[in-house]
Amino acid sequence: MPLDPSVAPLGARNFRDAGGLPAAAWRADQTEQTLVPTHCCFCGVQCGMYLRVDGHGKVFGVEPRNHDINRMRLCPKGINAYQQVNHPDRLTAPLLRRDRNQPFREVSWEEALDHTVEQINRIQQEHGRDAFGMLGGASLFSEKTYLVGKFARVALKTRHVDYNGRLCMVSAAGANKLAFGIDRAANPFADILQTDCLLIAGANVGECFPVLTQYVWGARDRGATLIVVDPRETAVARTADIHVALKSGTDSAFFNAVLHVIVEEGLTDEAFLAANTTGWAEVKAAVKAYPPSRAAEICGIPAEQVVEVARAFGRAERAMGWHARGIEHHTQGVENCLTVINLCTATGNLGRPGAGYGTLTGQGNGQGGREHGQKSDLLPGGRSINDPAHRRQIAAIWGIDESELPPAGTSMMEMVWQMQRQEIRGLIGVCNNPFVSLPNYAVVKDGYDKLEFHAQFDFFLSETAANAHVVFPVTVWAEDEGVMANAEARVVKHNKAQEPPEGVRTDTWVMCEIARRLGVGSKFAFEGSRDVFDELRRASAGTVIDYYGITYDRLEQTGGLAWPCPSLEHPGTPRLFEDGRSYHPDGKIHLQVVEWHPPADPYSDEYPMTLTTGRTVAHFLSGNQTRRLGGLVEQTPRPWVEVHPSHGFRNGEPVRVVTRRGSEVLPALVTEAIRPDHVFVPYHWPYPVAANELTIDALDPRSKIPEYKVCAVRIERAGAIDPVPAPPVPPGREAYPEAQVSRTDPLPPTAPQGRGTAERG
């Protein structure tokens, strides 16, 4: 018996749930402190925040900022974001190895850059320019996304460039372009407060965009009806006025049926339709085939619910539809979005305060990242790479001949297939982690393993970077300045809060330096983000995505401007379609007919259930950032499989989740908050507990988005759960142990949002 045998109740007796950093490391000295205004690095809401910088110029904390996007509110990811900046896991020297069987060694920038350029030249000489590819990311500042596109086309001269927004935003983008000729949300968040009926389709707002919840609740305080369409009873669905718990992959059937009822009951706005749309007759005819009874059968919901939703939405004076990955991550992702657009348009809910349509971008720069040319088929300003006029304009701005500009490339998943076929032999990846984020991990691993040369830019060693030949240590968001566009298409400015650590460079510097060594330095003479932004502004002038009137100074004065903003006097465009005109040449909204079809992965006796994947509130995307932050690991240390109690599993019991592509064993989180025919696995963790070992690499034919949200699955009893690996670090180092304390917890969290604060120790 120890001398101090004190015992105190669970959850009261220590501060492990305080985040894994030892309390002694959390100083609160009243030294000189500067508050640097900036925004969060994570999701598409882009909450304002201040970073607290101490007298030595180091970021050491966060302070809420009364920016009008978030009004001081922050989610747990945002609050912990600053801990990345001076994190012990940061990469501070380039890593290099000539072959994957060797361990990485730290090398000088010279050696890493020279080796990279040598490999680019070798592969392109031996196998052609298109044998080298480039993959960007939508968490980069817009300046850097612009640079990724320009670097690929001008320095690498390859057609193969794409970005991880392909896994995220492209279905909404495709639908927006088809219907409206402009790719962005139609209304600002603030319009939500004025709506009478809010439809949230496939968006777990409470977990993926927590700060947006204040707008949803604000609308309800003012009397709005809330409709949530989601197979799971999420935190916003729990209290919603109507929660439609449909089967995953049946959204278009449901929305067609809702429109069917709206037409039947005469709730359409025929005047608006006649004045502003094309294709209404065809859509009207098509939805005739979707009576509520059919939707009930396809979607597995009561038919009355369809009528209830139609009446609530159709009768509302002002109604809005917002959607996210839940309806977009499908082989008919674009079409699902189109059915929501059809619904809003048919009821005349567009272009008014409280009436409109929006899409919730997942990544911080999910909107901005797709605008300026890192997408395989787009050039800056949302120009098409297939349009000769657009090609000429950009070639002129870049100072190259139009014939030198490569043609359109392929999408991110297709590029992985090309790697498997060795059509792509070399790759530079910037700001992405496909080993966790792409579907069907076995295929992704195989594709990347076949690469002869792979370089990756990152500030932590991601699972993907750990498989590369060269890793360039680059800055975190707080060490550089730049802009991002949030889900409202509001461009906001991120400010530099501290100097990067010794040995770390900006992505801009690295790309420009490689370009210089490739002999095109004159086209990449950028000192920093400011120079790139000036070129971006000019490159976007006159297009739909017009940034010309947006300057750093204006952004700092206003707290954000929504594009299009064509001149320095222009106030920006927070709300679209106020005059009912779309951005198509004819000014009409082009309604599109949608027919529902079943998901790509067929159900069978062997795989009878539906697997759906998604996020949890404490983690972000591939988790390379959040799986290293103690407070977030503490909140949600590991993935789980969410199953309905009717399957007879006990909470925490090991469950093997099997699809045609793989299987893994996860602890069961048994809850009534999921459909009995569905299971859910969050995707932030890597192999062997990666949800994306299970998902299918089937793509939407138009947007090429993978079908993450539905595949056929079975669950069975298993022996032991698969362990969660520690985040990768360079050889000789250890992932910061204080932050990893709870990673080995074998139990699922108490609820999908995480472990309650008093659950363990």
Partner: protein
């Protein structure tokens, strides 16, 4: 009459634990989170409940009353402070006496710690960290009038029933406007909820 205080509305809470992380950023106890976030309907719904110190007014601060070392000070503004580190002997009386389950204890340091309404912030007119960042307004800091201006038709209660005893508090919970009885502090002898036995009464462990 209630001044500026925290109003808790579990009906708006999304269980995101932003408050838990934010609490840790408060300078008066940096690195240590005092707020509790529980999922009381585990296995059934994702409902969640944030718990800050309720700053009991009548009986005034049971935690302070049961403290053998007179370590818990109640300031004139009604804030029940965390234990004075020079006095606290780490006996845990407060931890187990608090009917709301609020205080925490560091057994090695022989020190109780609990929510002090972010005294370093509130004494300068700032809202406590948790209520500042709460994305949903489940934790709201202000006056009743400010609350009702934002949320028409809500009322608040500062009365909590623990068995036959009613505890009145400085921190309030949001209740529907027609409710006049104290908020239940919990039903100890509940053996069944919705036809399911409660733990300790035949439920599976």
């Amino acid at each position: 009459m209630l001044g500026r205080t925290i109003f808790i509305d579990p009906g708006r809470c999304i269980g995101c634990q932003a408050c838990v992380s934010a609490c840790r950023e408060c300078d008066s106890h940096r690195g240590k989170s005092m707020i509790h976030l529980d999922y009381p309907d585990e296995g059934h719904t994702v409902a969640s409940l944030p718990t800050v110190c309720m700053h009991c007014e009548d009986p005034v601060a049971p935690c302070a009353e049961v403290c053998p070392a007179d370590a818990i000070l109640i300031t004139a503004d009604g804030v029940v402070q965390e234990a004075d580190p020079t006095r606290c002997i780490g006996c845990a009386n407060c931890v187990n006496a608090c009917p709301f389950g609020v205080p925490k204890i560091d057994l090695d340091a022989k020190l109780q710690m609990k929510c002090n309404l972010c005294y370093d912030r509130t004494s300068y007119g700032l809202a406590p960290m948790c209520a500042t960042v709460c994305p949903t307004g489940a934790l709201f800091y202000g006056t009743v009038e400010e609350l009702q201006a934002e949320r028409p038709g809500v009322d608040v209660s500062t009365m909590f029933a623990f068995g036959a005893t009613t505890v009145s508090t400085g921190v309030a919970m949001v209740v529907p406007s027609d409710r006049r009885t104290p908020v239940p502090g919990g039903m100890l002898n509940l053996i069944e909820v919705n036809g399911r036995p409660t733990p300790g009464n035949g439920a599976e462990a």
